[in-house]
Amino acid sequence: MQIKYTLPLLAVAGFLFATYTAINSNNPTPIAEAITEPASAPFKAFIAGAGIIEAQSRNIAIGTPLPGIVKAIAVKVGDQVKADAPLFYLDDLDTLATLAIKRADLTKAKADVTIAKATFNDAKSLSDLAEAVTDRRAISAEELLKRRNAMLITKARLESALALVQQAEANLADTETTLSRLIVRAPVEGEVLQVNIRPGEFAPTGFLNTPLLLLGDLNQLHVRVDIDENDAWRFDKNSKAIAFLRGNRSFKVDLSLAYVEPYVVPKKSLTGDSNERVDTRVLQALYRFDRKQLPIYVGQQMDVFIEARDYSTNKDSENSQNDAKGPSS
């Protein structure tokens, strides 16, 4: 081997290897594809918002009028209930005992009336007897007065006894009302969405973070769309809207506006997180859609696109509007 050839050969080999490295080492990194294709707006200009599905009646968090231990639950999750159907029963042993007492009180009051009636009859007949004597000498004036007064006193006693009966009846009715309030009933017809209470648990009154029972009318669903306050001016009630199911964009549905809540609220509902940390306010528009078109559940989130006027491209028209306003602008 001669150095004459070795070095140039090594150099050529080195250069070729370097070229190979330069070509080979700079392959672009592969692109990670999306798991599912994200929804994209079918409109040219649009407002995007997140929507959450709710029942048309809104989701009713059932409360209880009286606090107490739950005795039994009449419904399961998913049950269809009619208006006024019982949902759950609170413990009523105490109230039943009171009811028995009140009933006894009524019976006692009624018995007292009988006694008062008998006493009155007795006094009345004695008084009548004395009144019937025609010869005033046969009976002293004092005796007559005594009998008459006795009759009047027993009459008053009878009236008092009758009033006591009424009072006892009212007491009984009160207890019966309390008893009926221990049964919590459905305020509207709908489906039971959630049951968060079980027999033996204590049902408190007042506002609860976790409702005892969630009820909603699912015949018609609404999607509540949050529109950022910065975009609210672009929102038009008459424009078209489309909602896409998250996770598979081939499920989409046309929306029609039900109503817009005129009060702009702080954004909170959408991530479902109780300690939402977002401080913007949103306009909420409610849309209805045909439930049969989507396999969807109440509380699910959707991506909603609402068509809006394209303000970006018609700058010229804006200018002409400004011109039309006159020289002052």
Partner: protein, 386 residues
């Protein structure tokens, strides 16, 4: 004549190798140092380059580079989605969180939160597990370098290699449980922290409580949409900064160029390589010409024209130059190949071949010019002196 020139050059093997070695060394330093420099610089934006799917990145207008996170409100996502020309827009969380390992040590990790439904922005290559597995509860995907090294379990033998993190192992991120469901391959980043991928909502629960947590909005433009126009309209409508992927890479790159000592350090290395290479090669080549002055004198006396002599010297210079260059770049490539599995940053684009080629050419031209001047000024009578 060329034959004589080569004979002259290779006549003294020691000197010949000396010249070639000098040039090889210069070429090696002028290729290898910039390659490391480019490697380090490319790591500053490797995260952006890895997320290939979106066209546009939207962020706070004051963001200076990719790790400079200034979070946005969640509703900004919907404002960006509402801009015409946007095919889709997805949220991304990126932040540094502390992971607690099984042995109780803490490790700062780069946590990336991807959109829950589409998982857009995921790692470019999954080695184990699937990206879908992120839908499982408490699941995270860890990058292979992090899993092997920084997040690995300590070796049972003291001082031994860490046991790599496997699928099914768990970590603690900010006191919350995280289960490894996949191992991914990502391009190393500048700070070389382990990268942990999870979903956006889970990343928010791992992150410390802050009012705003949305780091980036990733935007895909509609087909046929002009990207420059779309970024302009996003900027106008939302007041946020919007960059195309290349613009964001440039932004990050420029930040590191202007605000760190990396370019100047490597610039000095390259310059030193050039100077040392030029000095060694130039001097040896000049010495070689001096020693062969008698031969040149003889040739001149025999009536060889200056032009022919010049061509002879040029041939010699080109030959040693090409050999030195070839060996230098070859050694650099070999170095890169040997170091491919280590933490060393190394990037060898074709432009670098041209750069070092130009450098070696300059050295050769410099050495050749001195020698040529000497030979042209040479009196043929010198042969008969001394």
């Amino acid at each position: 004549m060329n034959h004589i020139a080569l004979k002259m050059l290779m006549g003294d093997t020691g000197k010949y190798i000396g010249i070639v070695m000098g040039l090889t060394f210069a070429s090696l330093i002028m290729t290898q140092q910039p390659a490391i420099f480019l490697g380090i610089m490319s790591r500053t934006y490797s995260f952006i380059a890895d997320v290939g799917l979106p066209d546009i990145w939207v962020m706070d207008s004051k963001v200076q580079f990719v790790d400079d996170i200034k979070p946005l409100q969640d509703t900004e996502l919907y404002r960006v989605r509402g801009i015409s020309g946007v095919e889709w827009a997805m949220p991304m969380y990126k932040g540094l969180l502390k992971a607690r390992l099984t042995d109780g040590t803490f490790q700062t990790c780069n946590v990336v939160g991807l959109d829950d439904a589409t998982l857009i922005g995921g790692p470019p290559m999954m080695l184990e597990g699937k990206l879908d597995d992120l839908r499982r509860s408490d699941s995270v995907i860890v990058d292979i370098d992090g899993a092997r090294d920084k997040l690995g379990k300590p070796s049972p033998i003291p001082g031994g290699k860490a046991i790599p993190l496997k699928i099914g192992d768990n970590l603690e991120l900010n006191d919350r449980r995280a289960i490894v469901v996949g191992i991914a391959k990502v391009t190393r980043t500048f700070q070389s922290q382990p990268v942990i991928y999870t979903t956006y909502s889970r990343a928010k629960s791992y992150a410390p409580k802050e009012r705003k947590l949305l780091s980036f909005v990733l935007v895909k433009a509609k087909k046929g949409q002009d990207l420059a126009e779309l970024t302009r309209s996003i900027r106008e409508k939302t007041g946020l900064a919007a960059y195309t992927q290349t613009e964001f890479i440039t932004l990050t790159y420029e930040y590191f160029m202007h605000n760190t000592g990396i370019p100047i350090n490597f610039g000095i290395s390259v310059l030193l390589g050039f100077i040392v290479g030029a000095a060694i090669a130039g001097q040896t080549f000049y010495n070689f010409t001096l020693e062969n002055l008698r031969q040149f004198g003889v040739l001149k006396a025999m009536g060889t024209s200056n032009w022919t002599l010049l061509r002879m010297i040029l041939l010699q210079a080109v030959l040693v130059g090409s050999i030195g260059y070839g060996l230098g770049v070859g050694l650099t490539a070999l170095f890169g190949f040997a170091m491919r599995h280590t933490i060393l940053a190394f990037k060898f684009p074709w432009q670098l071949l041209l750069f070092s080629g130009a450098g070696v050419s300059l050295i050769c031209i410099f050495a050749a010019i001195i020698s040529i001047l000497k030979v042209i000024r040479l009196e043929p009578a010198i042969v008969f002196k001394g």
